[in-house]
Assembly symmetry: D2
Homo-oligomer: 117 residues x 4
């Protein structure tokens, strides 16, 4: 039995791969947005957190795409980083890009927490 | 003017980001498939080429998501690696997974070559 | 106060960055070695575990290089993946490359566990 | 014959792996430094270029660690990105961190150009 394609994987895992991929992408886009905004948006703590969030989302998505059982460990860390990244985005105020990024992080955190359990 | 979301980017760049993301994913899935097949499918030269293809596809997609002008350089390398990866997959024979991977690599190579021009 | 260079970081963190970088590198080298050996060395479960280990080691080293406080989460996952990777390498038998990889994973797991605490 | 460890690789390739690893690390550290400096140091164009430089350096180092022949393509792109990153760092003025980053990028560009030839 093989598990190397989306058709053979658990639907919850496919959804988690998609959530991680979207979170990875929006964090990179939002770094660019925040650098353009300047001020508190461009502070090192916030930018670096989004960068680590992009990295761990990629590592978790890739662990699931590889079919590696150890994705539980990376998804656990991903859930934690995504939660903190969502909080950092929400603390920036109510502009649309930060809200989109925060929502995507929250959704990714929830599905990663389920995969880690 | 900002270019931090899909709506603000050139449609050809959005298509290239999608092609790179799909090629990255199918290469990781196909590594798992080929290891399960064994024999020539699992030879180091083929597996390592798919791994580098997954890496450069991610680097190129990320360069475009970041809004970095230097994506032309990464996309040029990505086009070359994807072409070689497609040839390696085609040389494995005519099973469905290798054909899917080869087609995805060819499509990615073409859009990356256009972005690099 | 800045923490952007090795001179400004805690010595334990610098050691952890080095351990993650070495573990990342030896896992990629050992994948190549194991593919050349074939048999149980080249089984998907073992190869994919080393690949995820290389990925999470890079993500953790990068989190520390970025100066991101959230490195505690990535280091926690890294410690767990490195432990499992060491076990998988040790189960391969007593050849020198597997022993070197297992030792490097163990060392990385220990320093990451300390950084995560 | 195997090429899975530093002892078995060409000395020039080992040097290039080291140069890529150092350039990857200093770019991540310098992003943090530049965000702390603010002003032109923290402009999106400069920060994103250093981020892509860190990514392609990792992809090139990994291609060589994997023993993949296609490292010539990634090293070609790496040489180009490193050259542009060095120019961007030099344009920031004469502070010590930017000079260190520029020198490391130049050194990496040179050894990558040799590996790509």
């Amino acid at each position: 039995m093989t598990h190397h394609t989306a058709e053979h994987r658990d639907p919850a895992m496919n959804e988690c791969i998609d959530n991680c991929s979207r979170c990875h992408a929006i964090c990179l886009e939002t770094i660019n947005y925040c650098l353009g905004q300047g001020g508190k948006h461009a502070e090192a703590g916030h930018i670096n957190l989004m960068a680590v969030c992009a990295d761990i989302c990629a590592t978790s998505a890739d662990a699931m795409l590889r079919g590696a059982a150890v994705h539980t460990a990376t998804c656990g860390a991903c859930a934690e980083v995504c939660r903190r990244c969502a909080e950092s985005c929400e603390a920036m105020g109510d502009d649309a890009q930060m809200q989109r990024c925060a929502e995507t992080c929250r959704k990714c955190a929830e599905s990663c927490a389920r995969m880690a359990a």
